[in-house]
Symmetry: C2
Subunit: 188 residues, 2 copies
DNA sequence: AGCACTGATGTCAGTAACTGTCATCGACTA
DNA sequence: TAGTCGATGACAGTTACTGACATCAGTGCT
């Protein structure tokens, strides 16, 4: 006999996305999320530091891949090539079948400034870690930070395209487009 | 006989920075800020949408300069040159005598994740407007968005250097460094 | 002078996000 | 079988933020 249903965090995440999409973030109270997940409000805050975090706390995996991709790039790769390796390592998590879910989540975020802030903060954290990995490789500042941030800019832009209405192309291709655009910035 | 002291918003801003620096953001209630400014809490929220905004609501000027700088760049300037013009137009607001104040403000922000989020969100807004200005100039996507974001990355990095301990060089020089690093990303 | 009107502010009650503290009770362990 | 542990509930408290209405010095009009 189990005392509680397992995976309270997962149930809370699911309930939150559903309710945010149904009635909006502001109109959804933490108490309502908790109720749908079958726990109390207090338990929500044991799993997530705040209401917004429920949409982001499962993204550590993809952030780590970005960083590991940079770390494991060939030693003689240029900064931009190392960043590119990071993006390649991360984008594999976004297979075609995940696109629809990503779209729902992005729609929710697009409708709420607070969630946009959190997303930017998370991506900035990834960029910081990538910059640190570049420094480990011997890249000097400010090149390391700028390379990392430019890489994140490319990824974010590609990701937004990927989940845009009527977009048929897949993420790796769109990231390639972005990298091309970044490279051609300095030659045009 | 004036009914109220003038410039309530300014007094609130000043009180907020002081209190945030003295005891931290979390330990400072809006009621305390309002009291030091000689108004009620309700009045605080008439001027600022939320507690964090009090540190950012006077930044519209500098954001606009960035955008206008892009708009007014020579028609034949490359995307990156137009962005560079934007940065040049914006950085003039950060004269040497402003450095100390910027340092205090940055220290406060660095100590509080919520304020970092808001800062990132504001800068993202500037990047969006710069990207729109680039599109006006005929720059296609995703180049416009990536150029704008890379430019903001350069500026933010330079700004952080500018207010770092022991930094003697001035902002324009540091922005130049960043632009050089960005340009050499694609050639190395 | 008298008077309506405006706009910045105060007052007050209410909601909801978050926090600290202690109680509960199946499951595991000695 | 007793004791401990860990996830959860219960509950009170603080504070950010909002809506509705009251106040009243100044302004312009008659």
């Amino acid at each position: 006999m189990v005392r509680w249903e397992p995976d309270a965090a997962g149930r809370l995440r699911k309930a939150a996305v559903e309710l945010f999409a149904e009635r909006g973030v502001e109109a959804t109270t933490v108490a309502a999320i908790a109720e749908r997940a079958g726990v109390t409000e207090r338990t929500f805050f044991r799993y997530f530091t705040d209401k917004r975090e429920v949409l982001f706390s499962d993204q550590g995996e993809f952030a780590s891949r970005f960083v590991i991709g940079v770390e494991e790039a060939p030693a003689d790769a240029s900064p931009l090539d190392a960043v590119t390796a990071g993006l390649r390592a991360g984008e594999v998590l976004f297979a075609p079948e995940r696109r629809e879910g990503a779209r729902v989540r992005a729609t929710v975020i697009a409708a709420n400034p607070g969630l946009q802030e959190r997303e930017l903060w998370k991506m900035a954290g990834v960029a910081d870690r990538m910059a640190a990995a570049l420094r480990e490789r011997g890249v000097a500042e400010p090149a390391a930070t700028i390379a990392a941030r430019a890489g994140i800019a490319v990824f974010s832009t590609a990701f937004a395209d990927w989940i845009a209405d009527g977009q048929a192309r897949e993420l790796p291709e769109l990231v390639e487009d972005g990298l091309r655009a970044l490279r051609s910035l300095t030659v045009a």
